[in-house]
């Protein structure tokens, strides 16, 4: 599903964010990216989404070399990739329902599809009763659920999560991880960058560890260490 071949990403001022990184992630896998701040976890996610382009190496997503992708085709790539962030990135002037519907609206889904899919996904993440609430009326955990609903409503092949539990307390984090696990069981490939030791240790999934841009460990059923 995702394949990196000797990928190197250098930011301005010779800051090497990723050095000669190679990895192969199968369809339906759940992968943790771990490592200290600045080790290149977020960069790797941004490369998969084509928010950044690598200096060297190739990246394949769903069998396609995304380096070869025309700029105008990038939106269509992103429709297959859901994104979840530490700061949720919800639109504060829209309700829970509208936030999720927005994701379908901007990719041109017809109204009747939106009307059936949005309540269904909100029910799935446990927010069926909070559809008309605004983000500021929700707890952090609930806001993250909205953000996950928005990322998943289009049934993407891949879900990228950048520190999704970074702003949440341990109990709430467990709930979010259960949700991501559930999404993974539907066949969606999940790649999650995290600092959260307990989450990684409890889930026992594949762990890719980065240190200063280099992959130092790639272990199935690994722990945070």
């Amino acid at each position: 599903m995702i394949k990196l071949e000797s990928v190197t990403k250098v930011y301005k001022g010779d800051v090497v964010a990723l050095r000669d990184a190679s990895a192969d992630i199968q369809k339906g896998e759940f992968v943790f990216l771990v490592g200290p701040s600045g080790s290149g976890k977020s960069t790797m996610l941004r490369l998969l989404n084509k928010e950044e382009t690598p200096e060297h190496g190739k990246i394949f997503v769903a069998g396609k070399d995304i380096g070869e992708l025309n700029q105008w085709k990038v939106p269509y790539l992103r429709r297959n990739i859901g994104c979840v962030f530490q700061d949720f990135k919800l639109l504060t002037n829209k309700t829970v329902y509208e936030n999720v519907a927005f994701a379908l609206e901007v990719i041109g889904r017809p109204k009747h599809v939106i009307k059936t899919q949005v309540p269904a996904i909100l029910e799935l993440v446990g927010l069926g009763k909070k559809m008309i609430n605004y983000p500021h009326e929700l707890s952090g955990g609930e806001q993250q659920r909205v953000s996950i609903a928005r990322a998943f409503v289009n049934r993407p092949l891949i879900l990228l999560a950048d520190e999704p539990t970074g702003n949440l307390d341990p109990t709430t984090s467990v709930g979010i991880m259960r949700l991501l696990d559930r999404i993974n069981r539907t066949g969606t490939t999940v790649v999650m960058a995290t600092h959260d030791r307990s989450v990684v240790d409890t889930m026992r999934r594949r762990v890719i560890e980065l240190d200063r841009g280099v992959i130092v460990r790639d272990q199935s059923r690994g722990v945070y260490e």
Binding site: N49, W72, P75, Y76, L77, R78, R79, C83, K89, L91, F102, A103, E105, V106, I107, G108, P110, R150, A151, N154
Partner: protein, 296 residues
């Protein structure tokens, strides 16, 4: 991709409301620029109209009374031929005179159809050898006294002066309009960029979930279009107002304005030009702004 009209309308309305002051400034600037463009275009047309009678180097026209007898008409012809200052003459009979009258008032049917050929005064169009003011003036004074002559008119220096000053004025206002037009383009670009900056979070999310650039750009272009069209409409309003209130005062005041005429269809054509110009400025300005923002 399906871009739903209700989505574009909703987004455009929100954008315009959010930046009301900036929208206002942009509209006013466009309106001023287009008023100047409109005024200078009309100036050119007005001058063309006022000189239509004197086309083809005709320097003097002797209008006969509509009931002048053939003898009187012949007498004037002989007097013209005898004059040392006259190079050539051309006689316009009732039908020809009526045809020219219809041409001059082509856009105003009420006046155009008010005369039958028989009622239209015939005339001599006279080319003068030495078209100095004094010569033309003396011809005018002499032929006015002949029996059967209704009126003698000559463009003399007035028309020349009028043409020059209108040409200068209209060139100046075109230049000025170009400057103000460029300013309004910059203002539109700026106003759209502020609108986009205010919504950068929304745009970020849109890009993340896979909205195409056109999908993001079109509501902003519609915003520019609305600003441009409103600006154009206000410009037309001002031009119309100037024609209805200011122009009659100027014309009746005489001087270089005497004989300056604008038809309704002149103003309509100019109005159309203004609306199209406003729309283009709006769309182009916002497309530039949006593209620069989306490329980041």
């Amino acid at each position: 991709m399906a871009l739903r009209p209700d989505y574009v309308i909703r987004e455009t309305a929100t954008n315009l409301k959010r930046n009301l002051t900036l929208t206002f400034a942009t509209v006013v600037t466009i309106a001023i620029a287009l008023t100047l463009v409109g005024a200078s275009l009309l100036m050119k047309q007005g001058v063309t109209h006022s000189n239509v009678r004197f086309r083809g180097d005709v320097q003097t026209i002797v209008y006969m009374k509509s009931d002048a007898s053939p003898d009187q008409i012949d007498a004037v012809k002989r007097a013209l031929d005898a004059s040392p200052h006259v190079k050539s003459t051309r006689y316009l009979n009732h039908d020809e005179a009526n045809a020219e009258f219809k041409l001059i008032f082509a856009d105003e049917p009420a006046i155009r159809d008010s005369l039958t050929p028989a009622e239209t005064p015939t005339s001599y169009k006279v080319q003068v050898k030495d078209a100095s003011f004094e010569v033309v003036q003396s011809l005018q004074d002499y032929f006015k006294t002949l029996p059967g002559v209704h009126e003698v008119i000559a463009p003399t220096d007035t028309v020349k002066k009028q043409e020059d000053s209108f040409a200068k004025f209209s060139n100046f206002s075109l230049l000025f309009a170009a400057i103000v037009g460029a300013t309004s383009l910059v203002l539109i670009v700026n106003s759209i960029r502020i609108a986009m900056f205010a919504r950068r979070r929304e745009i970020e999310v849109m890009k993340l979930v896979g909205a195409t650039n056109w999908f993001i750009r079109i509501p902003f272009m519609a915003e520019g279009l609305v600003q441009g069209i409103i600006g154009g409409a206000v410009g037309i309003g001002i031009v119309f107002a100037l024609r209805s209130w200011l122009l009659p005062t100027l014309v009746s005041g005489g001087g270089i304005w005497a004989g300056f005429r604008l038809t309704v269809s002149d103003v309509q054509q100019t109005g159309f030009v203004l609306i199209v110009a406003g729309a283009l400025v709006g769309i182009f300005g916002s497309a530039v702004a949006a593209t620069r923002f989306l490329d980041v």
